[in-house]
Every structure is written in C-alpha cells, then in structure tokens.
Symmetry: C2
Subunit: 312 residues, 2 copies
C-alpha cells in the first residue's frame, strides 16, 4: 500500500450540461485511475458550483410555471447534485478500472457536512446562487423568504448564502469502512450537504461549503497522507501574471502564511485552495497537500511538479 490520497476536483471541470459532464468525467477518470494503478488509495471529492446552480435555477423556474413543481430548498438541490455528478463520475471511473483490468469498486456516498450554526459566515452571506431577479422581485424575496439578496454587476439581483467552515462529516464511518476495504469513494460532493446539529437532528441549511475545505476535513478524518487540490494551473505562483512571477515548488506553513499576508493569492480563486492545503498539512506532522492540475496529479505525487505545502 502506498499513499492514502484525497483528491479535490473542481465543479467547473465537470461542464455545464449532462452531455458535457458525461464526456468530461472520462478525462477526469484517467489521471485518477493512474493514481489507483500505482497502488494509491484514492478518495474523490468534487465541487458542484455550476451543477447545483443549474438544479437550483431549474427548480426555481419550474416552481413559477403554471404546472408549479414544489419549491426546492438549497440543501436538497445539493443532495440532488451529489446523485447527478456521482452517477457520471463513478461510471467513468468504473469503466477506466475495467479497461485496465483493475479489480476495484467505486461508489458515491450521499454526504452531509456539519457546520457550526454560530459560524460567523452566517452573519455575512457571500456566495451567489440561483436565478437573477429584478429589484422588485428581490424585495419580495427579502420580505417573504428572508433571503439575503445582492445586486450582481448590473445583471440583476441574486440570492447570497453563507460559506461556513466544515467541522465534521456525518457519514464519516461509512466512508472510513469503504476506504479501509480498499474501495474508491466519491464523497463530500459540492463540499457536502450543509447541515447544523440540533439535538439528535441534522438540519439542512442554505449554505455553500467550500469543497477544498470539505476535502481537507475528510482527508483529516481519514488520516490521509495527501490532499491533492486540483486547479487549472500546474503550480501556485507568487506575483502571478507579473514580470517577477515565480512558480512555487514547496511551501512551509509559515511561507504560505507570509505569501497570503503579502496578498499573492486571489480570494475566491487560489486563496481558499492554499488555505485548505494549509488546513490539512497543518493538522498533523507529515501530512502533505499538493496543488496542481488534473493531468499532473501523478507527476505531482511523484515529486516532479505541483506546489507542495508541508508541515515542517
């Protein structure tokens, strides 16, 4: 047995329609199965931005037609997106395993991620979701549904939801059992269905958990060796796009923190990835986080590329 690796895949890498997704998951499956073929244990997490956006928008639109399907809360849309993405992803991985005669099994676990109801993010919702509304419609939604609405770059008004930090994974024992039995698991899709604890209950909340943070959390729970955060570039850079741009090979937690303080990483883009990588690497000595592209994942694990964040 080599390393236990949690791979965090971006939702944007999965396309905007079912046809696109069905094609793109095949490209995704190859580098993932490369890791498996080299003896690594892989757990796959993924984003769902475009997909849950599409489902939420469709449910919103359909609820306003004369046939009026029921309004669908946001956490339920997230649960749907886990089924939708998981189905395609597990299928593509299954096919790639079979075509290489690797006798392993893969499945998606519908996964809830627990957040703290006192997380300060709930006071400051920032993630836009769903349809665009007119000012008038927006005022109505604020009054009737207590939505928080923001004006979005002249395109109209959109609902915003908070992005709290993950504190636990409700289905962690299920995921552990599957990983311990050498199965390939797709979990915390879209950062997980966001829930808060109320006594013995888990209550779904309209929120978006960053999928890189959720991946760091499940990696920590599973005692993984590596967290790989996939992105569009092979390495993280400082002075990105400038003359003195420099691609980074290895960063200690202190160096990463310093670069963050110097403002090198864009919020909503590279910053949360670096933060999630630091969160995992910082959780225990020896844990490593790698930020690289899907195609370079295998090379990265073998130390030939990517940006490694280490706890030294």
């Amino acid at each position: 047995m080599k390393d236990k690796i949690v791979v965090a895949l971006g939702g944007n890498a999965l396309g905007k329609t079912p046809e696109e997704q069905l094609k793109l998951v095949k490209d995704t499956a190859k580098p993932i199965v490369d890791l498996i073929q080299h003896g690594h244990q892989v757990v796959l997490a993924h984003g769902n931005g475009p997909q849950v956006g599409m489902i939420n928008l469709a449910m919103d639109l359909a609820s306003k037609t004369p046939d009026a399907t029921p309004e669908m809360p946001f956490p339920e849309c997230g649960a749907m997106s886990q089924g939708y993405i998981g189905y395609h992803l597990q299928n593509a991985i299954r096919e790639e395993l079979l075509s290489r005669s690797i006798d392993k099994h893969v499945a998606t676990v519908v996964t809830q991620v627990i957040v703290d109801k006192d997380d300060s993010a709930f006071q400051n919702p920032t993630k836009p979701i769903g349809a665009f509304y007119t000012e008038e419609e927006s005022k109505k939604l604020i009054a009737e549904k207590k939505y928080v609405m923001v004006e979005d770059a002249g395109r109209g008004y959109r609902r915003v939801v908070p992005s709290p930090l993950p504190i636990d994974v409700a289905e962690k024992e299920i995921v552990k059992t599957l990983v311990d039995n050498d199965h390939i698991v797709i979990t915390v899709g879209g950062g997980g269905i966001p829930v808060v604890v109320e006594g013995n209950q888990l209550i779904g909340v309209p929120a978006v958990i960053d999928k890189d943070f959720a991946s760091a959390k499940i990696a920590e729970i599973l005692d993984a060796d590596y967290l790989i955060i996939l992105t569009a570039v092979e390495k993280v850079a400082i002075n990105f796009g400038k003359e003195n741009e420099k691609w980074l090979e290895k960063l200690t937690l202190d160096e990463a923190e310093q670069y963050i303080q110097e403002g090198h990483f864009a919020p909503g883009s590279m910053l949360p990835k670096v933060r999630a990588a630091m969160m995992f690497a910082g959780s225990k000595k020896g844990r490593k986080a790698l930020i690289t592209s899907l195609e370079k994942a295998e090379d990265g694990i073998e130390g030939r590329t990517g940006t490694l964040i280490v706890n030294e």
Copy 2:
C-alpha cells in the same frame, strides 16, 4: 445476529414535496429502527415515482423557459432523486438511532441497476413519466426525440418508458462491504438508475425498474434472509374487496402462482409485489418474503401478521 432483511419502501409513502418528505421519513424511520434495535441487519430500498416525476417535470419545464436550463435525461433525474430521498431518509434514520442510543451508521449509495438491453420490455414501454403534452407537441417529440407517447385518460399525451427486469447491481460490492460491516445502507433507490452494459461501459437508459424487483435482486445478491415489501395493507387478500375476501397468512410459490393465474392480484398494484416476493423466495431454499404495512413490519418478522411467501 438475527436476520438480514431488505426492506422495500414505496415512493408514495414519501410524499410529494420536500416538506412532506421531511415529515414522512420520520414515521418511516421508527419501524425500520425497531427492526435494527431487535438485532436485525437492515438494507433499505425505496421507490421514487412521485419524486423522480417531480424532478423530471421540473427539468422539462425549466428547459422551456427563457432562462433555459439544460434538458436532463431521465436516468440523471433518477440519480438526483436518489440523492434527494437518500439525504432525508438517512437523516431520519440517523436521528432515530441516536435518540435510542444505538451506535450504528447509515448512508445512501448512489446505485445503478443493470438491465438487459434485449429485455422485451424495451419493445413495449408502459410507464408514463414527466409532463402532459398536446397532440401537436407529442408528435414533435416523437419525431425529434423518438419518444414513445401515449394519450393519458383525456388529460393529454405523456411519454412512456419501458420497465425492464433488474439483472445485476453495479455497486453490489460496495453495498456488501457496508452490510458486512454492520452499517445500514440505502440502495437501489427508485429501482436503481437503469443502465445497460456496452463493453466496459454502463449506459443510462430511459426506463423505470420496479423497485420491488430491484429490492428482490439486491436481497438475492446480499443473501438476505427476508425481503419485506411494504404496502398500504397489512396482508395480501384474494377476492379483494368482495364478499368472500380472504386475507392470506402464508403462501407457497405454487399457491401464489395459482392465485396469480386466477387473477386475484391487480397489475400495477399487488401483482408486481407478489411477483417480486416470489422471485426472492424462489431464488434459494429458506428465503422468505413478507408483504405487509410499514407499521406491521416488526410484527410480521415475528410471525404475527403480514403475508409470508415461502419456498417450501
């Protein structure tokens, strides 16, 4: 360890809206957790008729609005329904377990069920799904999308899809591992996402697999002791609704077949349940299928009520 039991729950028992479902799963969880508390290993399967119908309709409607979300194939809608229903169901069971201090874990596996592409059902689609259309729209769908459309009791035209028999469960090794490790699994939701085998690939097909047949199949694969098919009544009857109505306690396969031939069970209602029960009981000596109501499941397993179909 007592019995390994697959419980097949009806989709109608889960309501028509997310609010209804969230309430109804709590009622469902209690008798399920009763079985668990008495030492049985439980695997839960469920229907998705109203839920996948709602999702499919919403996707159809939204794709025709000016904002036009992508058209969503039927198997993908099924995958979404597994996430949607599984999320609520696993949560309700988790809560019931916790409130009884039972240290067990539950999760939903996104599950594909394999059907035979040469199944004769593909020549004769019978299951209506999605929206109602005018005759003109219907003709267009037949021409453009090769849908099979039927006139539905004066309410307009609807698409019909085939209902092939399940031959295998793609994620069976995952489900087996979880059951062997004493976890509670929700699987083959809505009869499973219907797929056919093409080389190393599984291809989603627009079809509805009867959830009782899919439950019988996973029960067979898991070498379960019991299949419990839940329905609205406590027992199966012959001469149902007539003066000489008789509630049945126990049926051999031969007796069940005879009653079927005599036309005692309504197609689309009790008939497929009896057939699914016979399929499981007939698959190996000693396997038993019980048809009863949710509330009576525990009593039924203890031999006090329900209709038992046995292989003697």
